[in-house]
Symmetry: C2
Subunit: 243 residues, 2 copies
């Protein structure tokens, strides 16, 4: 039954035991489903009056572009993620979002979101939880940049994506398909692409993890987890708090 | 009238035109007011079953401690901020929070929060907005660490605090009282305290800003803003979206 539900519904179910009415309200978020090609700009920084999207299939990423052209990738988005929720709440988007692969996403209007919260307050709490989880990931990325070595950063990033994909049944402890380039990793981790390449070679030589031909293969999951000090507690998947 | 309201009520009013019933619900968040001494640990990383707090007076900061003892400060908290909201939603706190000055804060139980959202869905939306604003700040800190020079980071941090304090009427374009040490700035900005000290001296010599004896004085607000590429749009203070 749960597998027939949308990725967003399944994600929020991890936090709130959703009623049939809640699920019915959520399915309305999936009415305006559209496809986008790789590289499509879903949301532009500085854009106002934008919609949010719920990602149903594929990968996207959010970023900020600095005046000197440098790009900081804030996070990678997977099925079930809200894209641009902050843009809707803030009226002017403070970041951009771009499709990495071909994606399917449903446009959600601000009015839909506010109406659904009024009708189903448990949903608002669930979305607040999802937003908090997104914030927890940004905090981990901040710790990556502030305190971790290049090797730890790359390992942490690959493990976090693996943990998120495992919850979507798109990966496991052996690995996952990954459409990212070394440029994506570099701009997310505050490293140069050359540096990322060197780190990946070293992690491969150490038989910890390989990232080749669009697939991440964990060779030694336990040692990689130790190296990255990766503890997935911040992804909070212990089962519904609100029953 | 608005000045008699709690800092949290005033903050949320920036996003949602609160009804009398909403305000009455919010005042219940302020029933368990307590004082804490500087250095008091409000919330410990890994702690479960913790409460959230609403900060009424004083400064606090949230941080993560790495196994090697390094500390990454995630953010500074000012009156009106929720402390540990994520800890409540996540059951296990993924970060620690410590008082910088003597503070006053009201303990808010998880049940209070969930009950108030059910009774006043507009409040849930307002709290989601406040959480999104917190996330926007963490994103800016990520950009600081990933893309900005030491000077730009320090300038950006001092300007962001100034903008937030101005909304609380605790500062203006001339400056503000600031209880932070150079160690706080260093651990927030991924720099050493020596480096922060050197940057502050240089900013002072350039007559942009001074930070001495617990006060930040903006000497040239416009040029400092340009240097830091500071655009306070992400603090989103354009007036209520939800009326």
């Amino acid at each position: 039954m749960l597998t027939e539900l949308s990725p967003l519904t399944r994600k929020l179910s991890a936090f709130v035991a959703l009623s049939d009415a809640d699920v019915a309200t959520l399915t309305r978020f999936d009415l305006r489903r559209r496809s986008f090609t790789p590289g499509h700009q879903m949301i532009h920084e500085g854009q106002s009056g934008s919609s949010a999207f719920v990602l149903a299939k594929g990968w996207a990423f959010s970023y900020k572009l600095l005046p000197d052209g440098e790009r900081q990738i804030v996070g990678f988005h997977l099925p079930g993620d809200f894209l641009g929720l902050r843009s809707v709440l803030f009226r002017t988007s403070d970041h951009s979002i771009e499709a990495i692969t071909r994606i399917e996403a449903s446009e959600v209007l601000t009015s839909d979101i506010l109406k659904s919260f009024a009708q189903a307050p448990r949903l608002a709490t669930a979305v607040l939880w999802a937003a908090s989880r997104d914030e927890a990931m940004v905090v981990e990325h901040l710790v990556n940049l502030g305190c971790r070595s290049a090797e730890e950063r790359v390992a942490h990033c690959l493990l976090e994506l693996g943990a998120r994909l495992a919850h979507l049944e798109l990966g496991d402890r052996t690995g996952y398909d990954c459409p990212l380039t070394q440029y994506h990793l570099a701009d997310a981790l505050g490293l140069s692409a050359v540096h990322v390449n060197r780190v990946l070679r070293h992690l491969r030589e150490e038989r910890l993890v390989t990232f080749q031909k669009g697939r991440v293969c964990f060779e030694n999951f336990r040692r990689l987890t130790e190296l990255a000090q990766f503890d997935e507690a911040y992804l909070d998947q212990d089962g519904p708090l609100l029953r």
